[in-house]
Symmetry: C2
């Protein structure tokens, strides 16, 4: 594949959006394999490294706090997480993954890593380095 032609902006945008759909399809499939929704998987992903309050969770997920109440309700009913009182603030809660929730997200994350990495099977090691560099620069923008 040559680099001598100027990039077509629309082609780049189309490629980026198509890539998005391909990756979202992986996430969707992995979530479904564990019988949860993508948003629940994402929520568990946050709980991997955080014990956020409801408001913090709403900010991470870009949802209204009332939506998060419902998400956590259903996840709690499934035994994936629990609400704990905040030690500092009598109004606030901390949402914590249960061992079951942790198992699910660890397994899911491993599958996502394997499958998404698998999308890059056609690239060389140098290509992957280059791709990572470019994406990191986009995300830093």
């Amino acid at each position: 594949m040559t680099d001598i032609l100027p990039a077509d902006d629309r082609a780049l945008v189309d490629a980026l959006v198509q890539l998005t759909f391909a990756i979202q399809a992986v996430l969707q499939r992995v979530a479904a394999a564990h019988d949860v929704s993508m948003i629940q998987l994402r929520l568990l992903g946050i709980l991997r490294d955080h014990e956020p309050g409801m408001r913090e969770l709403a900010r991470y997920l870009n949802l209204d706090k009332s939506s998060v109440s419902g998400l956590v309700d259903r996840a709690e009913q499934r035994g994936l997480m629990r609400r704990e009182p905040s030690p500092d603030d009598g109004r606030a809660l901390r949402v914590v993954a249960t061992p079951l929730g942790r198992e699910l997200i660890e397994a899911g994350a491993a599958e996502i890593e394997r499958e998404v990495f698998g999308l890059t099977a056609g690239l060389s090691e140098a290509d992957r380095r280059q791709l990572l560099t470019l994406i990191v620069r986009i995300l830093a923008g």
Copy 2:
């Protein structure tokens, strides 16, 4: 940014997933700006170049046909598309975008192009060419 280090596979996967969320956020925002959902915008995107039947639409969107019935119901009520009888098959329909639906998707697509391209503002022309090449190779995989 140097290329002398070997790529960390997990870092690449994380970057790809984060990029996905960033682009999905753009799509979500553009859809919301036009007061439609992402799935409705995507549906209209299909109607830009096709006049599919309900079953075909379900296949494109990877949804059950009954889900598509509801999507088209609501879009039709908003005047964005209409069902027409198929000339060939008495059972089948063709779904066609109305001028209003066409306006919406043309405007939305332009905004998406502008905003997604904007994400690459920190890249040089050569970087963009390289990025396009890499993504095309992933999608061809």
